[in-house]
Symmetry: C2
Subunit: 168 residues, 2 copies
């Protein structure tokens, strides 16, 4: 529970590298998410090469922290695995996987932030080009990952008016 | 981390009631999720009345476990809070909130399962009618919640071929 409540968006990172094994552990957490009819319609790109991180940072409007982050995970929908599921389900499945990755990062002392790509077509096209994604693979987001630099505090977003009992 | 890997879909429940405070705690975990531009475009319906649970069970094709579950949480997108965000973002935000709720249930010894509603229009219409949701509120899913009955085991879904380094 504490990880859920202490997780926050981290946009500033130290220069320290993140081990490949730890990055795989984050993606392993992603794959533990549920998916509609257990189709697991996802793929994960891990980027640690400075050249690729910089290219994404240059071209994506809200991912400038990639100039500083030592790694990024790109969560993608793989439509070739989605069967005849409605369009919306891969987005839900990959979002659940993303939340697992963010919580795992918090649990392991890392910082991360969800930067949105899909459904903005311009951003989808940039990520597909830079990462050479096949036609059937759509990037949902780009998650910069690293060790946090500076202080980051979770927001308390509890709002009782969001809760309705038995119906509206 | 252990909650992420031990979470599983639970579809069988004991008759034991879940306290209102615990249900609020689950929803509190949901509200701790990140959202695009921090718009928090969500609302949560908590159902504990047998009559309402049975009505949802009768009318929804994949939520028959509600006949047995003592409670349900319905995660909704509240489009009146979504500003000019693209359609897809509230789905991502509410999916992250849902994953937090599922993990919180696991952490608290409860069982839960994500049953899909949106984007299937027939299911959306049923839930909106039964719960009297306003026009701007769209149910993403229905999550039956209760104390698990019988054995449930998490699936190991790790698949190394889903991981790509530096690009496809």
């Amino acid at each position: 529970m504490s990880c859920i409540f202490t997780r926050k968006s981290v946009r500033n990172f130290t220069q320290e590298r993140v081990n490949d094994e730890i990055l795989i552990e984050l993606v392993r957490a992603g794959m533990a998410a549920p998916s509609a009819r257990n189709l697991q319609p996802w793929a994960f790109i891990i980027v640690t090469e400075r050249k690729v991180l910089d290219l994404l940072a240059e071209r994506l409007p809200y991912a400038k922290m990639l100039f500083e982050a030592p790694a990024a995970i790109i969560v993608c929908g793989d439509l070739s695995k989605a069967g005849d599921s409605p369009e919306g389900y891969w987005v839900q499945d990959c979002s659940a996987a993303t939340q697992n990755i963010l919580l795992a990062a918090e649990a392991l002392g890392l910082g991360a932030v969800w930067t949105g790509v899909y459904p903005r077509n311009d951003r989808v096209a940039i990520v597909k080009e830079v990462l050479r994604l096949p036609e059937s693979v759509t990037p949902l987001n780009v998650i910069p990952v690293g060790y946090p630099r500076g202080e980051h505090h979770p927001k308390d977003k509890f709002n009782e008016t969001n809760i309705h009992w038995q119906g509206w």
